[in-house]
């Protein structure tokens, strides 16, 4: 309880009987003694009951008083000479003060009327003052309750403890009253804080009263002592003495409840102070519950937000692979804008050999953590499949259709279980052949910008998404490319991006942008242009779907710039010259009397050169007239480069059969050994008379 504040005095309601009593007392001191002398009688009529307070004396003792005009504020009866003055309480007529002045002079009647009116006015003012004090007291009670709720010790500030405290507070100091707090849960009102249930009316009746009270947002009183009070639906089930008060409260965002107070003592009634007090406490209870709900919601929102942030980071790490750099045959740029919701886009690059780059781009149906995890599972399945294929064939030239089929075999059943499907492109840039091999599983078409024509073609595939059908047979499509051509891979988030008017960005806009930019722009700047166009179109950085995009620009097979210090030899295409090739390698690895590679590394480089040279001599040039091979060797800061130039037949190392390691075959190890001995080997042997092979051995 606050101790520094003194509450105002409490006042009580004044009944009509009390009004009669006050009027009689006040008039007794003024008008009543005069009335007989002035020849008039005064009576009060309240609730139909007439009380003559100033009887007329013997008429012979009175002067004759007549009047012929109405008196202001009253009803002057010409015939009976009666003036009636209404008596009001709380703005309502509660009775009449009737002055029978048939024997009096008008001046006298007027004087008496003024006196009566003055007295009534004073009583009315006192009554108003009394009501104001009552209001003030009720407000004080409410403030006190509010103060008490907030002054509760921290330990008692659980929502349940506050509600129970409020329930007790409303009946504090009121013997014979009990209380409950009811709360709406799932559309029904149930008791939340319960006291003693002695004498309580049936729950169904209370619930019906609460529903009405909350719906109409006004308190309801069931009180036989209070005229006009509400009747319950089934009064026969109620004790005759039972009185009940329902004080409702609605929070703005939906929490609804009511304080219910009841008792059976006839001596007390639910006055306005009690009503306001209960209403104030009911509001406090609902506010406490609403605060609790909001803080739970805020916490939940925070947790969800945190999970989404972790998910986004996971998605970035697991699902969006880093683009390869320093590829000799292609420049790659990628763009990944995650949506506000966790998305299902995934992107991965596999640089399995010197002349090949595999690109996996896909989109899982739906959004959220589930889609994201399915995306991670698919990416993992591709890694696993490639790993097992590489183990079986170290040169790993399994075709994209073989890879996708193998992945589909591993995931189709699970995708069906998850009721999910995945669109994807698995594409291989084959720099050796100068073509793109791809399997399209219902993904948006790959865009192929053909530099020579200045035109973009949309490359469609043949397959449905993974997870659609167990029986799907995956087929790859191959398209040749030329130097400077550009391939653009993207997810549907790009073309299905909408602007404020609801229009789609669409493939046509994307194609127009590529056709106007791709010929001159690097993949990085083309990617930036596309990003800017998308953001301008959408009017901001926030998107509903993931935006994933890869731009690959093809270039000629690399030939490192010569430092001018290269050494060259030219040898006849004769196996007897292999020792000369090895001597040449040993000579370029010796600079100023020091070996620039250790003995083991030189041995491996010698082996690779021997394998390549003998392969050219045996397969590439047999039958050619005076065939020769030119070898060029150069030492760089970080590597040693050896290049073979020769005229001869074409050679595709990927077409060679993988070696057998079980001793059953005596040949077929050459290409494999070469790949094991050096860090990079690029074959460009298209049989056009200017074949070259470049190998690089890194200096550790």
């Amino acid at each position: 309880m606050p101790t520094s504040l003194e509450p105002p005095p409490r006042t009580t309601d004044i009944s009509r009987g009390e009004i009669l009593q006050i009027l009689r007392r006040e008039l007794a001191a003024t008008v009543i003694p005069l009335a007989p002398l002035l020849g008039c009688s005064i009576e009060l009529e309240i609730d139909g009951e007439i009380d003559r307070i100033a009887p007329v004396l013997d008429r012979s003792e009175l002067c004759s008083i007549t009047t012929d005009r109405p008196v202001a504020g009253g009803v002057f009866q010409e015939t009976s000479k009666v003036v009636e003055i209404p008596i009001q309480s709380d703005g309502c007529n509660v009775g009449l003060c009737r002055i029978d002045a048939s024997e009096s002079r008008p001046e006298v009647v007027e004087a008496i009327e003024r006196i009566v009116r003055g007295q009534l006015e004073r009583i009315s003012l006192e009554r108003q003052e009394s009501l104001l004090l009552t209001e003030l007291a009720a407000c004080w009670e409410s403030l006190e309750a509010l103060y008490d709720v907030h002054a509760l010790p921290e330990a008692c500030r659980s929502t349940d403890a506050i509600i129970d405290w409020i329930r007790n507070r409303v009946i504090e100091g009121q013997s014979g009253l009990e209380s409950e707090f009811w709360l709406e849960v799932d559309g029904r009102f149930i008791p939340k804080a319960i006291g003693r249930r002695e004498g309580r009316p049936p729950s169904a009746d209370i619930e019906a009263l609460i529903e009405r009270s909350v719906a109409e947002d006004r308190w309801i009183v069931v009180d036989p002592l209070r005229p006009g009070s509400t009747l319950p639906d089934h009064p026969e089930r109620w004790s005759r003495d039972l009185r009940l008060l329902v004080a409702p409260s609605n929070a703005r965002h939906g929490t609804r409840g009511a304080l219910v107070v009841w008792g059976t003592e006839r001596t007390r009634c639910f006055d306005s102070r009690m009503l306001r007090h209960a209403q104030s406490l009911a509001t406090q209870a609902v506010m406490a519950l609403e605060g609790d709900r909001l803080s739970q919601a805020a916490l939940q929102h925070e947790l969800v937000q945190e999970e989404m942030e972790i998910g986004s980071e996971m998605q970035r790490i697991l699902l969006l692979g880093d683009k390869p750099s320093a590829l000799g045959f292609a420049q790659v740029a990628s763009l990944a804008i995650p949506s506000q919701k966790l998305g299902g886009d995934f992107l991965e690059f596999f640089h399995l050999s010197g002349m090949h780059l595999d690109i996996l781009i896909g989109d899982v149906m739906g959004k959220g953590l589930r889609a994201s995890l399915v995306g991670a599972a698919i990416t993992r399945q591709f890694h696993r499949t490639l790993c097992s294929l590489v183990t079986a064939d170290p040169n790993c030239h399994a075709a994209p259709e073989t890879i996708v089929s193998s992945v589909h075999e591993g995931v189709a059943r699970r995708l069906a279980e998850f009721d999910s499907f995945v669109t994807l492109d698995y594409a291989r840039v084959d720099a050796f052949r100068g073509r793109l091999d791809y399997v399209d599983c219902g993904h948006p078409p790959i865009l192929h910008f053909r530099k020579a024509l200045g035109r973009c073609d949309a490359l469609y595939g043949k397959n449905v998404p993974l997870g659609f059908s167990d029986l799907e047979v995956y087929e790859q499509v191959s398209v040749p490319y030329e130097d400077g051509d550009v391939f653009v891979f993207y997810s549907d988030g790009v073309t299905e991006l909408r602007n404020a008017a609801g229009e789609l960005f669409g493939m046509e806009r994307l194609i127009a942008l590529i056709e106007s930019t791709a010929a001159e722009a690097s993949p990085d700047s083309l990617t930036k242009s596309i990003r800017r166009a998308l953001m301008d179109f959408a009017g901001g950085e926030q998107t509903d779907d993931d935006l994933t995009l890869v731009v690959v620009r093809m270039s000629r097979v690399p030939v490192p710039e010569s430092s001018g210090l290269a050494k060259t030899i030219e040898i006849p295409s004769d196996l007897e010259q292999l020792e000369a090739c090895r001597s040449f390698i040993r000579s370029i690895c010796m600079q100023r009397g020091r070996q620039i590679l250790d003995e083991d590394a030189i041995g491996l480089l010698e082996l690779a050169v021997t394998e390549v040279a003998s392969n050219i001599m045996i397969h590439g040039q047999a039958g050619f007239d005076d065939p020769r091979i030119r070898l060029e060797g150069e030492v760089f800061d970080d590597s040693v480069l050896v290049r073979f130039d020769y005229a001869g037949r074409s050679f595709d190392p990927t077409a060679t059969r993988p070696p057998d390691f079980d001793g059953s075959r005596e040949s077929g190890f050459g290409v494999y050994l070469t790949s094991q001995c050096v860090d990079q080997v690029n074959y460009n042997c298209k049989g056009d008379g200017a074949n070259f092979i470049v190998m690089i051995k890194n200096r550790n």
Binding site: D600, E606, S614, F661, G663
Partner: protein, 125 residues
């Protein structure tokens, strides 16, 4: 291809004398050595002089093994010995060490074929 061929008891000991066995040498090695071996022969290939071998050299050694024991079930046998570290590296890359036994010394290889080495057991052929 310079090769020394010796008999030690029932075992044929072959020692290439050139220091490399590459595609330029393996053809003559096959012709002059491998093709001359009898089926069921027990052979030791002493690689102590060899400094370089390539895939065709490895293929020639495998051919040697298949020559003496074509089906893999006969009494013919080929054992290798005295390979340098670089030669062993190549053998391991093509998994030759999984297919043929490689011993550190000629004596160990002979011992594995049941021949105990004494002065009198060695005679040039």
């Amino acid at each position: 291809m310079n090769v020394r061929i010796e008999s030690i008891g029932s075992v044929t000991l072959i020692t290439p004398l050139d220091n490399y066995l590459d595609a330029g040498r393996s053809k003559s090695f096959r012709r002059e050595v491998v093709d001359q071996l009898a089926v069921d022969a027990r052979v030791i290939l002493d690689l102590s002089a060899l400094k370089f071998i390539d895939s065709s050299g490895c293929g020639a050694i495998l051919a040697c093994s298949r020559r003496v024991n074509p089906e893999g079930v006969g009494p013919g046998d080929l054992k290798l010995c005295a390979a340098s570290r670089q030669i062993r590296t190549v053998f391991e890359m093509v998994r030759l060490h999984k297919v043929l036994e490689i011993f550190n010394t000629r004596e160990e290889a002979l011992h594995a074929l049941g021949i105990e080495v004494t002065e009198s057991t060695v005679s040039a052929s």
